[in-house]
């Protein structure tokens, strides 16, 4: 008997991405409905229009976007899916905003296994649900085999900043304290240790996490916060240099105060890398007025994602904008911008 409205469901077990999945026809609609809409499941997406119609908000809006091209796509502690949700939520949160909505855009390579895509999409959906930030709109394109690397995901986030909060990279002042929410280098080393051409096994798990809850607690405690930033690509060193440059200040760090997990430290040692330059996906740097540093530290440590928080140094006056560090040995050095690339494609 003919079923006029019947479409054979996607073969999410053995099927692969085909050019038609991005061609705008029936198979694209099917991919969207059976995979993306089913996983992300929310009323905005269900509107089924070219864009999501959102209710009015009060307050200043923050918008940020982030592309994800990590290789390998799956790594200890996460995958490109949850990473693409956390990354953008964190960028919005670092502005002091409450993240509200996400948009997601996929570039899929022809031949990519649908089962892997399903894993990635479900991981994104879980991350978005746990964060309480729905993915309300999206897009899918397919490129020919050899023109992509499996999956690239770009996410955009929108959030709202409440009255009285202004955070910016140019607000660090001499005397401010620099706080870090935990051990550095976990994400970069987790990804790197799973590269196929690196034959070492390290039990290192990516720290990928959405930090907006931690940020909310920090904002609520009333400390005079000047800057928040997540040290992703380029690591802590790069983030601090960016802030120093924007604010026209220097910094003086204490190496002994910067938490690094022993396995990460050992893996870095082994590969000749410096954890200061290795990416994080679930850590933040906070710069606050000196009188509030201890209070802020206590709030951060009380949060699940900030247990290992530490005051790692202070902002100093320096026309050159140098980030310096007192080494464990007792000497002093510059912690410079990263020259070239330390690791390829980690986020």
């Amino acid at each position: 008997m003919i079923k006029p409205n019947y479409t054979r469901p996607l073969d999410l077990k053995n099927g692969r991405v085909e050019m038609s999945h991005g061609a705008g026809g029936r198979s694209m609609a099917q991919l969207i409905i059976e995979l993306f809409a089913a996983a992300f499941d929310n009323g905005y997406l269900a509107q089924g229009n070219d864009g999501a119609l959102l209710p009015p908000v009060s307050g200043r809006l923050v918008m940020s976007c982030d592309s994800h091209v990590v290789s390998p796509l799956f790594f200890a502690g996460g995958d490109i899916g949850c990473l693409s949700v956390h990354g953008t939520i964190n960028d919005v949160a670092m502005m002091g905003a409450q993240p509200l909505y996400l948009a997601a855009s996929f570039i899929l390579e022809e031949g990519f296994p649908l089962s892997d895509l399903k894993r990635i999409v479900e991981s994104m959906a879980r991350a978005a649900r746990e964060a309480g930030v729905p993915i309300v709109t999206g897009d899918t394109k397919v490129v020919e085999q050899g023109k992509g690397d499996g999956v690239f995901i770009t996410t955009t986030g929108v959030g709202v900043v409440r009255e009285g909060i202004t955070l910016s990279g140019h607000l660090a002042k001499s005397g401010d304290r620099i706080l870090l929410s935990g051990a550095i280098g976990d994400h970069g080393m987790a990804v790197l240790s799973q590269r196929e051409n690196l034959s070492f096994d390290a039990p290192i798990v990516s720290d990928t996490a959405a930090l907006h809850g931690l940020v909310a607690a920090m904002l609520d405690c009333g400390a005079e916060l000047h800057v928040l930033r997540d040290p992703t690509r380029g690591g802590l060193a790069t983030t601090l240099n960016e802030i120093a440059k924007q604010s026209g200040v220097g910094m003086l760090l204490r190496e002994a105060a910067i938490p690094v997990n022993p396995t990460v430290e050992a893996a870095c040692e082994f590969l000749g890398l410096d954890p200061l330059y290795v990416a994080n996906e679930g850590k933040l740097v906070a710069i606050c007025a000196p009188q509030d540093a201890e209070r802020l530290l206590a709030v951060m440590r009380a949060h699940a994602l900030g247990k290992e928080s530490a005051i790692i140094g202070e902002v100093i006056a320096d026309a050159h904008g140098f980030v310096q560090m007192t080494t464990k040995l007792g000497g002093r050095r510059i912690v410079d911008w990263l020259a070239g690339e330390q690791l390829p494609r980690i986020c």
Binding site: L198, R333, D336, A339
Partner: protein, 370 residues
């Protein structure tokens, strides 16, 4: 981290620093060359200079593999990848070394050449096995430390009959370079050497004895950890004070007088001496580099492909040559930190973190104000 933190301990560093300060004679200067880039890096990264008295000065030596690689050698590698269409495999450090025509391996790669960064010579063999219809060339560089792994790969390729594998051999010898530095008339005046760490694990401490016996320069072989370096400096200060010139070994946990005989035998089996080799900074140095022995000629990329070495002069303003000889300090170069930075290196010393210029720029340039 166990077995590492012990060698980076701040309290112990203070003790050694106090000893150096007490024992160094304020009436004289101590000009000590750390030969290896590994030591240069440790001195800069841990801020050891801050712990030394002003009259104990460290002079950075030429022991940075990519720094001493002349432009013409990188040109050869680029030519192999671009004109001969080979898969060129290289350690990551060489990717940004300036070559002719404003090129680097990195830029050649961006321009479509098949250049791959590898971590081990075993990776190269795998690439050769996986690509039987392509020629795969390993850009073999480095001192005695990286030579044995290259020898292993060549022998393995010979055993396997891996005909599409070959090497562009640039392996160089430490003692020959130390000799060249000391032989320069009116060159740098030195009171002693901090001797190589990893190189010495392979060649042992014996090859340094002529520097003590014939040139009367004390040599203290030291590990790459900051406390190793500080202890070696203290040992050198003591030798100088006592008028001794001996080879002493601070790095006894890894270095013996004879070195790694197995590795030496392997290297001797695969490689022979070149009559001469051009070094950046030191010029042509006799018997200072290795080439494959005739038995392994089939794996010699220089014989397999038409890539003759053409010497290319360094940028005129660049002082890398004098810096590599220890005659100038990075900050004495006119283009240091202005035209030449780690992002846009003009000279090779600004490329690797072991290079004197990159180390000073990345870790120590805040001192320029003081």
């Amino acid at each position: 981290m166990k077995y590492v933190d012990e060698f980076r301990d701040g309290e112990l560093a203070k003790n050694i620093a106090a000893n150096i300060a007490r024992e160094a004679d304020p009436q004289r200067n101590y000009r000590l060359m750390e030969f290896c880039g590994g030591h240069t890096h440790a001195i800069s990264r841990y801020g050891i200079t801050d712990l030394l008295p002003a009259n104990v000065r460290m002079i950075h030596g030429p022991g940075c593999p990519v720094c001493v690689l002349p432009i013409g050698r990188v040109d050869q590698a680029i030519s192999l990848a671009r004109e001969h269409g080979v898969i060129l495999c290289t350690y990551a450090d060489t990717m940004r070394v300036p070559a002719s025509n404003n090129l680097t391996l990195m830029r050649a790669k961006a321009g479509g050449a098949d250049i791959r960064m590898i971590y081990s010579t075993q990776d190269v063999l795998k690439i050769a096995r996986d690509n039987p219809d392509r020629e795969v060339v390993f850009f073999a560089i480095g001192f005695e430390t990286t030579t044995p792994p290259t020898a292993v790969a060549v022998k393995q390729a010979a055993t396997e009959g891996l005909e599409n594998f070959s090497i562009l051999c640039n392996h160089v010898l430490t003692p020959a370079a130390m000799h060249a530095i000391l032989a320069v008339e009116g060159g740098v005046s030195l009171d002693g050497f901090v001797g190589p760490a990893h190189v010495s694990t392979v060649i042992g401490s014996k090859p340094y004895e002529p520097f003590a016996d014939d040139y009367h320069k004390p040599v203290v072989i030291a590990g790459f950890e900051p406390l190793d370096v500080m202890q070696a400096i203290l040992m050198l200060v003591r030798q100088i004070n006592e008028g001794r010139a001996e080879v002493e070994n601070e790095f006894t946990r890894a270095v013996t007088r004879e070195g790694n005989l197995k590795a030496q035998a392997l290297v001797n089996e695969v490689f022979g001496l070149r009559d001469a080799f051009e070094w950046r900074g030191l010029g042509s140095v006799p018997h200072s580099a290795l080439k494959l022995r005739p038995e392994f000629a089939a794996f010699d990329a220089e014989l397999k492909f038409a890539v003759d070495y053409v010497a290319v002069p360094d940028n005129k303003a660049c002082e890398c040559a004098a810096i590599l000889r220890g005659e100038k300090r990075p900050q004495e170069c006119k283009i240091f930190g202005t035209v030449c930075t780690p992002e846009n290196p003009i000279g090779s010393c600004m490329v690797s973190s072991e290079g004197a210029c990159a180390a000073h720029y990345s870790y120590g340039r805040f001192r320029e104000d003081a």
